[in-house]
Amino acid sequence: MTLQTEALVIGSDEEEILIDANFSGQDLLVFGAFYADPSQPRDEKGDILVEIVGPSEDVILRKKKSFLGFWLNAISVGFRDVPGFYYLSSSNEIDNIFLEKNNIGILKTQKYSDMNWSLLTTDWGKIESEKDKIEFYEALIRTKDKENLFKQVTDEIKILDGNLFKTNIHIPNTAPVGKYIVNVYLMIDEQINKHYSYNFTVTRIGIEEAIYSFAYKFPLLYGLTSLIIAIFIGWGGAELFRRFRRI
């Protein structure tokens, strides 16, 4: 039996991120300490990998085509269980083979040839060729990336004193609500040595949350309320101005 000398402890400043009317994104601080064999040179001391996986969503990706000069949605592909938010950060360059082996990455970083397409999508529709599938796969990541919902970086983790690390992760206002998983890995010799994970949630609060859940839970009552407000303001506004003009 080998004696384990490596250790990893982490902390974070938020357990819950609240989205209200003025929410324009928030930074999440993830920090911790790791301990690896200090007699080894810096490169061997280990690297830190921070991964954040947001709640799963089912999405539809549509491709436009020109038809008589008009750009119309022509082909659509449904993807299931796509993370609504994904962030991966490492203190050093990491190669895809490592990620692949450990099942880490946006939509699990597999080689295109190895990808189990049927698991990823609900419906490929008219798409048959591998080339077209890859195009859609890349477009999915690109469109998510444009909304700041997918990100993979190597320069955001700060290592202090050789054993302490901290990183700020920006949660944008487009981030979906739900449970987020934070995974922190200590990597030594291309191996995951320690893995620690915890959760935080993104919640809507305030009048927006009330309206949102009202609309989806009691649609008829919601519609009626919205109507009554319209009737009241429409009627009241006209009355008010009529009296005002008489004076």
């Binding site: 750009w71 206002n173 519609g223 009627w235």
Partner: protein, 307 residues
């Protein structure tokens, strides 16, 4: 200052929304129209998802048409019997319209179809108004007076199920008004409009109603049809954004009153020519959005409602 719209799920500048509601309200007050045909495309221009723009416009029109109807009602210019018969057709039309809307959402064609429908509608209205108002302006310059026919008789008066409409002094079949209501119902549900600019000419030329009763009666039926469309959208497509509607209603009611005051100071044909130009500009913008190659040919949407 931004406001987060809970159903549209995005932040929009509140002053942008207020001025948009105010301008559309001003124009609708000035021209005596609901304004939905401008509200929906303008909301889409500022980035509101098409389905939310349509459903929320319907909700906003309820308020603006109530404001408008009250005045006509007091003057006894509403033919309630005709309004109710139109509504029977509109009821079934809007149910079909919601179904069409859902199919368009599922197949991903909503944006395109809405854009094409609005382009067609706005180009036709814009050109017709421009021709009409320029003729009037020309006649005014030449100091010509045009005699107008009081009553129009066509095939619509020869159908069965004839009913007497005392208020409109009409004795016609109920088939044409039901058919007309049906078409307006479909358009209202799919496009988020009240349909006054189709309804008013159709009531005059197709049903032969007296002009004095037309505006009040069309506003009356628009209140109910847009109220029904709002409820149908709230319960089936979940696209009514109450907060967006609230901001638009407040600003458009104020804008509408200012529009009414302004309208009394200008000649009818002059403001109609102005509206025609505005409508044509919006139509051209819609067409160019469809024709310009997009930067990103892929678009992603999250599935929230399973129909």
């Amino acid at each position: 200052m931004s406001i987060y719209l809970p159903i549209a799920e995005l932040s929009v500048n509140i002053f942008l929304l207020l001025s948009l509601g105010g301008i559309v309200g001003f124009l609708s007050g000035m021209f005596g129209l609901g304004g939905g045909f401008l509200m929906t495309p303008l909301l889409i221009f500022i980035g509101i998802p098409t389905n939310v723009a349509v459903a929320t416009s319907a909700n906003q029109i309820v308020a603006s048409s109530i404001s408008g109807t009250l005045g006509h009602w007091r003057q006894g210019q509403v033919d309630f019997k005709m309004g109710c018969i139109l509504l029977i057709g509109a009821f079934f039309g809007s149910i079909l319209g919601i179904w069409i809307f859902k199919v368009l959402v599922i197949t991903g064609q909503l944006d395109t179809v809405i854009a094409i429908l609005y382009f067609t509608l706005l180009i036709s209205i814009g050109l017709l108004m421009l021709i009409e108002s320029s003729q009037v302006i020309r006649d005014r310059i030449r100091k010509k007076t045009v005699k107008k026919k009081i009553h129009y008789h066509n095939w619509a008066h020869k159908l069965p199920f004839k009913v007497r409409f005392y208020k409109s002094k009409l004795y016609i079949s109920i088939v044409p008004p039901i058919l007309l209501g049906f078409i307006i119902g479909i358009l209202s549900a799919v496009m988020g409009i009240g349909g006054a600019f189709i309804l008013i000419p159709a009531m005059i030329y197709f049903l032969g109603m007296p002009t004095s009763k037309v505006i009040g009666t069309s506003l009356f039926q628009i209140i109910f049809i847009t109220a029904l469309v709002t409820l149908l959208h709230a319960t089936t497509t979940f696209a009514v954004d109450a907060l967006l509607a609230f901001v638009l209603i407040i600003s458009s009611v104020i804008g509408a009153q200012l529009g009414v005051i302004t309208a009394t100071k200008l000649r009818g044909e002059d403001i109609r020519a102005l509206l025609a130009v505005i409508v044509l500009i919006v139509a051209v913008k819609i067409a160019s959005d469809l024709l310009v190659p997009p930067e990103e040919i892929f678009n992603l949407s999250v599935i929230r409602v399973v129909f």
